[in-house]
């Protein structure tokens, strides 16, 4: 029976349903009042966590670590929401809130943190993470983490991982045109940047939560300080905009409405 050591790299983001407003601070661009906004585990990373938890549940002896670089107080809040959903050991890095962190700095911090986990066995190591980010992904962080760790087998935009009887695994990666690329990997170590996967959000399980929290709080108390992006100059930033134009319109055909929507999307 295979066993896996799965490290999930997961950022936190302001709840995407809140209004995000960019501001310029002495430390560079940031989101206005980011520390006041409720935070969630980046939805792409959350899929990776649920996939990791599911994989570990099927292979006895496997274990999941969650590595996250974020402000400790916000991370603590997010843990209260996700720790009831999956078993994991948190490895936190207390990093400042920064909506526009440089992917290279983040990847370096994450890979150094992963290397510092004493119990990890490279021969069973799978690095999971989000292929993208809900609010500020550069789309390269997981790839850079893999390069720092010298892991050559990398898969991005993953929707499914199936372990074969011989220990290899089949991976479905999203490619253009709504199709998947099917690859077979001999085994760990590998990096998998997940798309949405196929699993629903797990139900809350209070026993899992209580068990997780016994290690999460001590880990947070001992969290090492993380990085700040250095020597990076931001030319411009463009967070997603929330735009609403509400009108009451009667007696228009669906075609007209669709055409207007298409024009509006094209304009914006």
């Amino acid at each position: 029976m295979n066993t896996y050591h799965i490290v999930v790299c997961a950022g936190i983001v302001p709840d995407p349903l809140q209004t995000l407003e960019p501001v310029t601070t002495p430390a560079g661009p940031a989101l206005k009042n980011e520390m006041m906004l409720p935070a969630v585990l980046d939805p792409w990373s959350a899929h990776a966590l649920y996939e990791a938890s599911n994989l570990a549940a099927h292979f006895s002896g496997s274990k999941v670590w969650l590595v996250s670089a974020a402000p400790k107080a916000k991370l603590q809040q997010v843990m209260m929401n996700i720790a009831q959903k999956a078993s994991f050991e948190l490895v936190p890095v207390d990093a400042p809130a920064n909506g526009f962190a440089d992917a290279h700095s983040v990847a370096r911090t994450l890979s150094e943190t992963i290397e510092s986990i004493a119990a990890l066995d490279r021969s069973s190591l799978l690095i999971f993470g989000g292929w993208e980010s809900a609010s500020r992904g550069a789309g390269v962080t997981m790839q850079l983490v893999g390069e720092h760790l010298a892991i050559r087998d990398q898969f991005h935009g993953v929707d499914r991982l199936t372990v074969q009887p011989d220990g290899s695994f089949e991976v479905l990666e999203r490619i253009e045109g709504g199709r998947h690329l099917v690859s077979v990997c001999q085994g760990p170590p590998a990096v998998l940047g997940w798309a949405t996967g196929n699993l629903p959000e797990p139900k809350n399980n209070p026993q899992v939560g209580m068990s997780n929290m016994r290690t999460i709080m001590p880990a947070l108390q001992k969290a090492k300080a993380g990085c700040l992006p250095q020597n990076v100059r931001y030319v411009s930033v463009n967070p997603p905009k929330q735009q609403r134009l509400t009108r009451v319109i009667k007696d228009r055909s669906p075609d007209d409405i669709a055409a207007e929507l298409a024009d509006w999307i094209a304009e914006n």
Partner: protein, 613 residues
């Protein structure tokens, strides 16, 4: 047929977990309780002070479940004297909490009706006419008069303005970072576990069910969490508090009859705003004389503003959202608000019976704290600090019982917790305030006079109690303004179209249309979308149930529809209101606005989430 939960259809096997103390609901009361308790659970060397009885060798297991998906989703812009809160944080500047600021300027403002649509009694009309006649002398400006003083009993000029969402978030960070208690948001508690005249824990909500409560493929029965002590702090419409009341009853002579719906917005004021952070405005007189309003100014050009619709306002269509918009558009306030942007919106029910509605504060295995325990001071209109203080009192009592190795029996809790509460300023001031609202059952003028009399005499003089004012029929309430036949026609039209009746009636009574600007003046549905996020995770049952449809069919007014803060309850052609969980902000107004007591308001997931409220 009424809906059934999965567990009531067939008995299911439930997982069990045991803890020492289980808390329900995270608000100011639970914040006060856990802040105080968590500081006393460790010795100076960091070793646990008390051993768990359910997990020998482990520290005391304390857990708290909150229904909402986060701990910072309280709906209130609070101005409070913060006596209890300050006492819990000596030496800490509370203005470090985001959006918090000390009160600097407090005013009571009488708003005249600039439109002519408000339902004003003769006394109000005469007062308005005299004020307009002598406007220059009395300082009338923008259809409003700033009263020269605020009665001392209302005054909070030594207090703090908080965003309760940010306050709760800050408190939760302090509490959880101690590592000795666990807080779990997103986990509604469906019912107390009651046996042998004692509460022995709580049952968590079933997951993986259809809206009608029937199990789906992913059905996970709610776990039973057994606890030596259950701390109930789930607010005025919380399922656990109400089920405990239903089982054990209320103390003789007590009743929870007085309610209000508070609806608010957080507004980012325009850049040249002249409103100073720390400004507090209390208003009376508009949009209706029965509706009181407020505006509190936070730092960074943010302001909380809102109105209260009381249960003694006998309108059969007493709505809130449109009244809130007319309130904002009053010239006295609009001069500040024009050009502002909505940042957040919310609504909640307030239990305004005070001491008269106090339940049993403790019983075998349970204790009640906060607003649901009748702690709100109905004279000072103050609830946050009182709720906090009841939590502190319970925590001190629990530590005393733990130190003396006494069980959490009714007798022990009464000698420790209830005694502390009775001896505290919270109870003494509540007693003085207990009859302050009686006058409102006679009318708004009598109510104001009664409040002033009670306040100035320390509760010695007040109006006597009177039976609750009932909501008038549509025909009777609008008799002087709209012909009966036209009211009937409007009801029929709204039933067919699903539109809100109050809007049509307000139009007909001369209230002008709202000039939507897409930023602050927006439709009710846009407020739900722009004022936070209303979430209804799948796999949970509907929580607003109309128990006996035949009663709904007979009900003409359907106040549940008109008062629904999120327009989640709508008229349907079957004459039984339709409920859309995806719009419910969990304010609980439907519960107390149903005159037939036909709404079952269960524990539910989701609701409105905004951390700015």
């Amino acid at each position: 047929m009424s809906a059934s939960t999965a567990s009531s259809i067939t008995p299911v096997e439930r997982q069990e977990m045991s803890v020492d103390i289980a808390g329900v609901g995270f608000g100011p009361a639970m914040g006060g309780f856990l802040t105080t308790l968590s500081r006393r659970l460790l010795n100076e060397d960091g070793a646990p002070r008390f051993e768990s009885t359910v997990a020998p060798g482990m520290p005391l297991q304390v857990i708290c479940y909150e229904r909402a998906d986060g701990l910072g989703f309280g709906v209130s812009g609070a101005v409070t004297r913060a006596r209890g809160i300050r006492a819990s944080f000596p030496g800490i500047d509370l203005s470090q909490i985001p959006m918090a600021v000390p009160v600097k300027r407090e005013k009571l403002v009488y708003l005249l009706d600039p439109i002519g649509a408000s339902r004003r009694s003769v006394v109000f009309r005469v007062t308005d006419r005299l004020l307009r006649m002598f406007g220059r002398i009395v300082g009338l400006q923008d259809h409003a008069i700033e009263l020269p003083f605020i009665p001392k009993f209302m005054c909070k000029d030594d207090g703090m303005i908080f965003s309760l969402g940010q306050f709760n978030q800050w408190i939760s960070e302090q509490v959880t970072s101690s590592g000795v208690v666990q807080l779990w948001p997103g986990m509604p508690v469906s019912e107390p576990l009651i046996g042998n005249n004692a509460v022995c824990g709580v049952r968590l909500i079933d997951q993986g069910v259809n809206p009608d409560g029937s199990p789906t493929e992913g059905f996970v029965p709610g776990m039973d969490v057994r606890a030596a002590l259950t701390v109930v702090a789930d607010g005025p419409v919380g399922a656990i508090g109400r089920k405990i009341d239903a089982h054990f009853g209320l103390p003789h002579g007590h009743a929870q009859r007085e309610w209000a719906l508070g609806m608010k917005m957080v507004v980012e004021l325009r850049e040249d705003s002249r409103l100073e952070p720390g400004t507090v405005l209390h208003t009376i007189g508009f949009p209706e004389p029965e509706i009181f309003g407020f505006l509190y100014v936070h730092p960074e050009r943010l302001a909380s503003l809102g109105i209260f619709i009381p249960s003694w306002y006998c309108s059969p269509v007493r709505t809130a959202y449109r009244y809130l918009q007319h309130f904002m558009l009053h010239p006295y306030l609009w001069r500040y608000l024009q050009g502002g942007t909505l940042k957040s919106w919310g609504a909640k029910s307030l239990q305004e019976s005070g001491l008269r509605g106090e339940p049993f504060l403790a019983g075998n295995g349970y204790a009640r704290i906060g607003e649901g325990s009748g702690s709100t001071n109905v004279l000072a209109n103050s609830g946050v600090d009182e709720a906090w203080s009841t939590g502190v009192q319970l925590a001190e009592a629990i530590v005393e019982l733990l130190e003396n190795k006494k069980p959490f029996t009714r007798e022990n809790l009464e000698q420790s917790y209830v005694r502390r509460r009775r001896e505290s300023w919270v109870d003494k001031e509540s007693k003085a305030a207990s009859d302050a609202r009686n006058g409102f059952q006679y009318g708004v003028i009598a109510g104001l006079i009664g409040t002033v009399l009670t306040g100035f005499t320390g509760g010695a003089v007040s109006f006597g109690p009177r039976s609750r004012r009932t909501v008038k029929s549509l025909q009777s309430f609008f008799a002087s303004r709209i012909p009966v036949a036209e009211v009937r026609k409007l009801v029929e039209e709204c039933t067919k179209s699903g539109r809100a009746l109050h809007d049509r009636l307000m139009d007909r009574c001369g209230w002008p249309q709202i000039p939507f600007d897409g930023k602050l003046l927006i439709t009710h549905q846009d407020a739900l979308l722009m004022g936070g996020s209303v979430q209804a995770p799948s796999g949970y049952a509907n929580h607003a149930i109309f128990s006996r449809p035949e009663l709904c069919r007979k009900c003409e007014t359907k106040l549940c529809v008109e008062m629904c803060s999120g327009q989640a309850i709508t008229r349907s052609e079957e004459d039984v209101p339709a409920f859309d969980r995806e719009k419910c902000v969990y304010c609980g107004a439907c519960l107390w606005n149903c005159e037939h007591e036909n709404v079952e308001f269960r524990a539910g997931a989701g609701g409105l989430h905004s951390a700015l409220n």
